[in-house]
Amino acid sequence: MSKIKWGAALLAVGVAVALGGCAQTSGGGSQTGQKLTILIGSSGDAETKAVQAAADTWAKTSGNTVNVVAASDLNQELSQGFAGGTPPDLFYMGWDQFATYASNGYLDAYAAKLPNAGDFYQNLKDTFTYKSTFTCAPKDFSTLGLIINTDLWAAAGLTDADIPTDWNSLEAAAKKLTTATTVGLSFGLEYARAGVFMNQAGGTLVDGTTVKADTPENLAGLQFIQKLHDEGVYKMPSEVSAGWSGEALGAGKAAMVIEGPWIKGIATDFPNTKYQAYELPAGPSGKSTFTFSNCWGIPQGSKTVDAATNLVQFLTSDDQQMAFADAFGVIPSTTSAAAKYASKYPENASFVAGSDYAVSPVNFAGSATVISDFNAQLASLFGGDAKSMLASLQTNLQAALDAAK
């Protein structure tokens, strides 16, 4: 009898300890005197410092304190925070994970109430809209462009008149640029790159509530990449021993790559590589590029939502966005600031120009697993059957779309 009592007492102590560890500290809903934590997926020191500086400026004027934490694995640290009941007060929310988070009730839909909600690019607002509610404010954006190594370009005897404007001139330029040590064109073989070719051919993945993945247009996009690879003028970064295509460009292993404004990050490793960014060449059905963006996420039911919303308003103001652009090269998410950016940084003007016709990659809830499955299939695109890949994408994506409704 006493044994059982003792055992029960021990178990009770154990449970108390376990639950005590999960207890939350409570805060108020006011806009001052708050301690905020921002969790960011930083591209490097410059970004972390710029965000901390901006947060400090806001903290001083508003009477709060802000701590900026750079995550080493943003997704993992976010889900850990949410599961533990202690999510950060503000965080970077990637376009690819946004719908998954929104559909699971992780995000506070504050964005529509922002005073500057009307200033953002419409396609960015669409990206961060869940169930027709503009949920979180886009932080900045990037589009894809064609980045050309100008030294290799000149060495191949090419001039400004040869800058690719369509698939044919892209193929011709890639052929001329390909040598024994350099491949003409390189980009990571994934939906986020190959998808632009599918779109340029007139394809799309989702049209309302139907998936249109297995269309001849999408197939034409993939077949063009297959053709370039067969001709030896396109290679995956891994085929030229590069971690990503930016590295291939910097090391001179690829003369042209398809990347975004973040390409400027290669300056640390390859300070002597000269390059120039252009709009992506048009396909049979016109121009197309992808726009990628992060938004400022605020957790649902957060005790600091008012202060955090106020901080977002400050961080997305035109002046502050230009400060971020100066510090680490992102394009502002508001039309007015992006225009200033284009005139201040003419070398990146083509990325801003791309935003006129850019589309957001598919990002409804549950699409991420299907897209990563498609990416996995693309690994065997060369020598493989593009048509069956699109067929399997069609089946899986439609199933995911039906489940998302």
Binding site: V15, S79, S241, A379
Partner: protein, 370 residues
């Protein structure tokens, strides 16, 4: 309860074991029970599972095992990948570690201490560090391919090659597309043709890596067991005329059976749970041929926020490991114990007695005759 001179002992016993019980209970038993509950719930990963989720029966398990779809196919793919990994790594690492242990146990070997340290070294190095080095060694123009090129072989693009080795061998004899009977859907949403793909070229690198890093640890286990075998047994075997090979297979190996069981069990558990190498080499890339159940469980939970499904995968993996360990115990069981062994022993005993009696009778018979 009778209270004698030892009445309070039970109480003190509980008091002294309490720290261990509390630690194990709070950090091991409770989390496992909670995870088991999560695998039957629709928890979204918001707050504690208790109070923020509801019981939804076996839906999570059905999605992974029964319902056709991406979740089932991914699970099937991960099981296939890991199966090939286990079936190659476990026997090879056991054989290699046993071989190394026997070599460094030989008395005539000079510098035994050096070799023991050298073979054990990969085991004490972090698997993250070794994997990173392997990634550099096996890039398209890395050291391995440079060496192969020197020998006139055009090496594959190791970590980016999703093709299965059995598929590649079949392609070598002209079978590059699935023959009709193999296009039939197999278990877990994968075609039979996909099941027989063999490990991908990328997986082969990880297989080599695993054998390289773990055989040192197991060598140590075998070495300890070898040193426990008395030299008189060796001598007795030699006196009976057993050669080196015969001695190894008929005397040494049977005596190592308990250690062999340990090594195989640890090997099985470790290889079914491979995670860090997968995380580092691109999260299942190339072409999902490096996807393993352990990594899939992580990815399903942390990236896709399908915590219930992730927990379900973990528990299926747990059941697979338990089942395989039991099976292996059955195969390696000692044939000297158990009911059948007793019957055999009795029969052998009876035969021995009968023969002895017969021999005694004939000998007395001849004695009487002379």
């Amino acid at each position: 309860m009778a209270k004698g001179i030892r009445g309070a002992e039970g109480r003190y016993g509980w008091a002294f074991t309490a720290p261990a019980i509390i630690i194990i209970g709070v950090f091991l038993v409770l989390p496992i029970l909670l995870a088991l509950y999560v695998s039957f719930s629709n928890w979204h990963g918001l707050g504690s599972p208790i109070g923020n989720s509801s019981f939804i029966g076996t839906t999570n398990y059905e999605k992974v095992l029964v319902d056709p779809g991406l979740a089932q196919k991914d699970f099937g793919t991960s099981i296939r990948n890991n199966f090939y990994y286990v079936i190659i790594v476990v026997p090879l690492q056991t054989a290699l570690s046993l071989f190394l242990a026997v070599q460094v146990n030989r008395r005539i070997l000079r510098g035994r201490g050096f070799f023991r340290t050298a073979f054990y070294f990969p085991s004490v190095t972090s698997s993250v560090a070794i994997t990173t080095i392997f990634i550099f060694l096996f890039t398209a123009s890395g050291a391995v391919n440079a060496l192969l090129g020197w020998l006139g072989i055009n090496g594959p693009n190791w970590f980016a090659d999703p093709s299965g080795v059995i598929h590649n061998l079949l392609a070598g004899v002209g079978v590059s597309k699935a023959p009709a009977p193999l296009t039939a859907p197999g278990p877990l949403g994968l075609q039979w043709w996909d099941w027989i793909s063999g490990p991908s070229v990328a997986m082969c690198v990880l297989i080599v890596l695993a054998i390289f890093t773990t055989s040192g640890t197991f060598m140590l286990l075998f070495l300890a067991a070898l040193q426990n075998i008395g030299s008189e047994i060796d001598e007795a075997a030699e006196m009976d005329g057993a050669g080196a090979l015969r001695k190894f297979f008929s005397v040494t190996l049977p005596m190592l059976k308990p250690t062999l069981f340990t090594v195989l069990t640890l090997g099985l558990i470790g290889t079914w749970q491979v995670f860090d190498q997968i995380y580092l080499t691109g999260k299942g890339e190339p072409g999902k041929t490096l996807l393993t159940p352990a990594f899939l469980a992580y990815d399903t939970s942390f990236t896709n926020l399908n915590w219930g499904q992730g927990a379900a995968i973990s528990f299926i993996l747990f059941l697979i490991i338990v089942a395989l360990t039991l099976l292996q115990r059955l195969i390696l069981r000692d044939r000297d114990v158990g009911r059948r062994a007793e019957r055999n022993a009795k029969r052998a005993d009876a035969r021995l007695h009968a023969e002895a009696a017969m021999a005694a009778r004939t000998s007395t018979g001849t004695g009487a005759g002379s």
